[in-house]
């Protein structure tokens, strides 16, 4: 009959995730580890991608931008999904902490979307001759995703009551995440119509193994970096939301002393 404790342990773990002091300490413990490993991974990945990996036979060395473009594109989409899931949990079970997480993910996701756009644009110059190639479905999708992020943040900022801001913007995040796949495939469908330069499809010409490894390392490095920043922002958000509670005031006193 050990099934019961596992379920209870899981439920208690999930339940404890709802208590701000526990999550604050958890984030505090995690962030140094995340920070160090992400920096190491990023350094190794960047060095490997820039120096050791062979240049692409078609595009030469400009191909190396893939090692930062693809991870930031993944983070932009993953970030939005994480934000929407956290907001939905916050809305349904009225968990303030989940809304707090959604608030922290939004700016990070927006920054990585912008990064994907910029690196995609720079990559486009040597290959297609223009910084902004309308025909590229990925860039178009990242642009619309950036507008979704900005829309979420603007809507959230236009409410003065924080609880209402949380719940209404959570609904927008849910609407957005339902539309993300639709936008992705309609933009993809749109580019096949207009036969934009199809030199680079998703992932480009077949990636050989020694190109893939640095990409995976960079992906891991970016993700852990995202997690690290998320922990830091979440701690700040928890302090701001729980400013009236006793544990926060004692914490502030200790930090101040």
């Amino acid at each position: 009959m050990n099934a019961v404790p596992i379920r209870r342990r899981l439920w208690r773990a999930f339940h404890r995730l709802g208590s701000p002091p526990y999550v604050y300490r958890l984030a505090g413990r995690l962030s140094p580890w995340l920070g160090v490993t992400s920096c190491v991974l990023l350094a190794v990945g960047a060095f490997w991608g820039l120096v050791l990996a062979p240049p692409d036979y078609l595009q030469g060395d400009s191909f190396r931008i893939i090692y930062i473009h693809v991870p930031s594109a993944y983070l932009s989409m993953g970030g939005y999904v994480l934000m929407a899931v956290a907001a939905a949990i916050g809305y349904i079970w009225r968990m303030k902490l989940a809304h707090g997480l959604a608030v922290c993910v939004a700016p990070l996701g927006a920054w990585f979307t912008a990064l994907a756009l910029v690196t995609g644009g720079i990559w486009g110059k040597p290959t297609w001759g223009t910084y902004w190639e309308w025909g590229d479905a990925r860039l178009m999708f990242e642009l619309l995703l950036l507008f979704l992020y900005i829309g979420y943040m603007v809507l959230r900022m236009s409410f003065d009551d924080r609880e209402k801001a949380d719940r209404v913007s959570a609904l927008l995040a849910v609407v957005g995440v339902v539309n993300v796949p639709i936008i992705h495939y309609s933009v993809e469908w749109w580019t096949t119509l207009h036969q934009g330069p199809t030199l680079i499809r998703e992932g480009g010409p077949s990636i050989t193994m020694d190109m893939l490894i640095p990409l995976l390392i960079m992906l891991a490095g970016f993700s852990l970096f995202f997690g690290w920043l998320l922990c830091k922002r979440l701690q700040g958000e928890i302090l701001r939301r729980e400013s009236r509670t006793r544990w926060v005031r004692t914490l502030a006193a200790e930090a101040g002393a």
Binding site: R94, D160, D161, R162, E163
Partner: protein, 214 residues
């Protein structure tokens, strides 16, 4: 009309129980640890200064908002989770009259009656509230007092056993106030329950069973 034993002859089992209610609005704690209960035929008078949470309390009782803590029990159910078919049981009249300005008085009353599947005819209400003259006039052309009376007529058309009135006497003249007091008495006589917030408690004291001072 008020009698001390008003609520008793309906059996004292409470239909509306509020236990250790806490209401927050805009991040500020308005109301803390409020408990009271009402049996059929009883009316609660909610008094308190501006910003003491009278309106928020009524909105929470109506199910428009969710309390920060505590429980509200109306016939064994929670107002903000009432299934649609039971919602006809609670009638809420806020500061705003809830009438469409581009419709005439008649159209507003008919819509309210049909949409809320109400009972009772529109004609006697119009007569009782002396709205015959402005019956076919657009609501935007009525005076505030007349609009308030049309809103009260809408209230009477709803088949609700719980009345939640937020300062019903505003903009009403003496005649209008008498009608409200008379209706509260009749509502209580029919076994209805009411929670009324007001700035003039002495006018409504006769119709009230308990007073909740915030």
């Amino acid at each position: 009309m008020a009698s001390a034993t008003h609520g008793d002859h309906f059996g004292a089992c409470p239909v509306l129980t509020v236990t250790s209610l806490e209401v927050r609005r805009g991040g500020i704690g308005l109301l803390r640890d409020l408990s009271f209960e009402l049996s059929p035929g009883q009316t609660a008078l909610v008094t308190g200064a501006n910003g003491s949470g009278k309106t928020s309390l009524l909105r929470v009782l109506a199910g428009l908002a969710v309390p920060a803590a505590g429980r509200i029990d109306w016939h064994g159910k929670t107002p903000h989770r009432l299934p649609p078919e039971d919602r006809g049981d609670i009638a809420y009249l806020g500061h705003r009259d809830g009438l469409k300005r581009e419709l005439t008085v008649d159209e507003n009353l008919r819509f309210c009656r049909s949409f809320w599947k109400g009972r009772g005819a529109v004609e006697p209400l119009i007569a009782e509230l002396r709205l015959e003259a402005c019956r076919h006039r657009y609501v935007r052309r009525l005076s505030a007092g007349q609009r308030r009376r049309v809103a009260l007529a809408c209230l009477r058309l709803k088949p609700a056993r719980l009345w939640l009135l937020d300062e019903p006497l505003t903009n009403l003249d003496a005649r209008g106030t008498d009608v409200v007091i008379e209706w509260l008495g009749r509502h209580a006589a029919e076994g209805g329950v009411a929670v009324v917030s007001t700035h003039r408690p002495q006018r409504l004291a006769t119709a009230a069973s308990i007073e909740v001072a915030l």
